[in-house]
């Protein structure tokens, strides 16, 4: 218990550093699964670890120990964690559970509101054209049994040509059929339980866009066309005046330390589409799976140790 219980917490500190590299080097669909799984497993495991640490503190309180017929004195003697550690863990686990519950409740309501919006829009083929000159397009998720909707403004339709309309629709349809909102929500759930995991949620928001981009590329068979469409739509939606400032590094844009390192998601998506398609990276996948398995095993081990501790101190 002394080591195992801290492993998920330690990994929550280290693993997020790998989130962005993974999102940029692995094929987006697999990356989305790996990143979402990591956020969920690490979020759950670190919360359970904190709970276990807090529990070792709780049973030292004589009144609580009496409830379980445990001996508070032998708990104080055998206990693996410092009382101060248990106390901090107790506060953190309370915060984690509250934050996760609040996030779930909010997201469930927002998804319901989105489904209501979607159901309100009369359409035959799932696409709704909104009369609005501002270029905009998005997918509204539905609920099981209630189809989602793709909403496109007339401004966006005017910006793009026929082929590009097809790309836009293929992209948004991929969001709906792939249930991408669920990946985003689950990754954010992990991150709200453990804020250290936020890089995973950010990375998932990026990889679902990449996933949808690659789907659109497969539908049209032209990745650079998809890149140009994404760029065109983003530039059109970007209303700031087109100031061509002396932007230096035209070279090395695709380099690791080029301006893309600090760029927002859209330029990175475009650059990824202009570069050759990414592989599945079995080594990265195996490494992620190994880390997550170790996390789960450590949590199980720590829980088992607490169980044994309770049995020891419970000897009447």
């Amino acid at each position: 218990m002394r080591i195992a219980v801290y492993l998920p917490l330690l990994l929550s500190l280290i693993a997020p550093l790998a989130a962005r590299p993974l999102s940029e080097r692995c094929e987006p669909r697999l990356a989305t699964w790996l990143l979402t799984g990591s956020a969920l497993v690490l979020g759950a495991a670190s919360t359970v670890s904190l709970g276990l640490l807090a529990a070792t503190g709780l049973i030292r309180i004589p009144q609580l120990a009496a409830l379980g017929h445990w001996s508070a004195t032998s708990a104080q003697r055998d206990d693996p964690a410092e009382l101060s550690v248990a106390l901090i863990a107790g506060l953190l686990v309370g915060g984690a559970v509250l934050a996760a519950a609040r996030m779930l409740w909010r997201r469930a309501r927002t998804l319901a509101a989105a489904a209501l919006d979607a159901a309100c829009m009369p359409t035959r083929d799932g696409t709704v054209i909104v009369d609005d000159e501002a270029p905009d397009a998005y997918a509204l998720p539905g609920l099981p049994g209630l189809p989602g909707r793709i909403v496109v403004s007339t401004g966006m339709l005017h910006t793009l040509d026929e082929t590009e309309h097809g790309i836009l629709l293929a992209h948004e349809r991929a969001h709906l059929t792939g249930h991408h909102y669920a990946f985003v929500a689950l990754a954010q759930l992990g991150a709200s339980a453990n804020p250290l995991l936020r890089p995973f949620a950010t990375a998932v928001a990026y990889t679902i866009e990449r996933w949808a981009d690659e789907n659109a590329a497969r539908a049209t068979g032209d990745r650079s066309r998809v890149a140009r469409t994404v760029g065109k739509a983003a530039l059109a939606a970007h209303r700031a005046p087109a100031l061509t400032r002396a932007a230096g590094a035209a070279l090395g844009i695709l380099g690791r330390h080029g301006p893309l390192a600090s760029a927002g998601p859209v330029p990175r998506r475009v650059a990824a589409l202009l570069a050759p398609p990414l592989d599945r990276r079995p080594v990265l996948a195996a490494a992620t799976t190994a880390v997550l398995t170790a996390t789960l095993l450590a949590t199980a081990e720590a829980a088992h140790d607490l169980h044994r501790l309770l049995e020891t101190v419970g000897a009447r």
Partner: protein, 136 residues
């Protein structure tokens, strides 16, 4: 409000499988759209087949009517409800207000391309080459 449109008791929400109001309303709306004709609360109750009581159905339909999502016309002793039929533009604009109150709506909407900073825009133009400028 007509007499038989009022819920018998105010506390009818809890019956039937518990579900968020928005999801329930979305389900009703989809049902009314599929029906293609206005439905009375009795007809809606029949078609739902999930144990929601007549009174709950009346409550929800009334609430949706108040929100401006449904129109209603007297039929017999009850009202028949239908989705507000207007152009999609108006529907979308009205709908925006339902979702717009939600703090995390941006996380649910999958926008095609947004959130471009000035630096990002410059970067994009470089990535895509000079032809992009003539397009805009």
């Amino acid at each position: 409000m007509r007499e038989n449109d009022k819920p018998m008791d105010a506390d009818t929400h809890g019956r039937g499988p518990k579900r968020a109001n928005g999801a329930r309303e979305a389900e009703f709306l989809a049902l009314l759209q599929q029906a293609g004709t206005a439905l009375t609360p009795g007809e809606v109750t029949e078609r739902l087949r999930d144990g929601l009581t007549y009174n709950s159905v009346v409550t929800i339909l009334t609430r949706m009517h108040t929100k401006g999502l449904l129109t209603r016309n007297p039929r017999g002793r009850a009202y028949a409800y239908a989705p507000v039929t207007d152009d999609a533009g108006f529907a979308a604009r009205r709908m925006k207000t339902v979702l717009e109150e939600r703090p995390d709506r941006e996380a649910v909407l999958a926008r095609f391309a947004d959130g471009l900073s000035d630096t990002d825009a410059d970067l994009l133009r470089q990535l895509l080459g000079p032809e992009q400028d003539s397009d805009r």
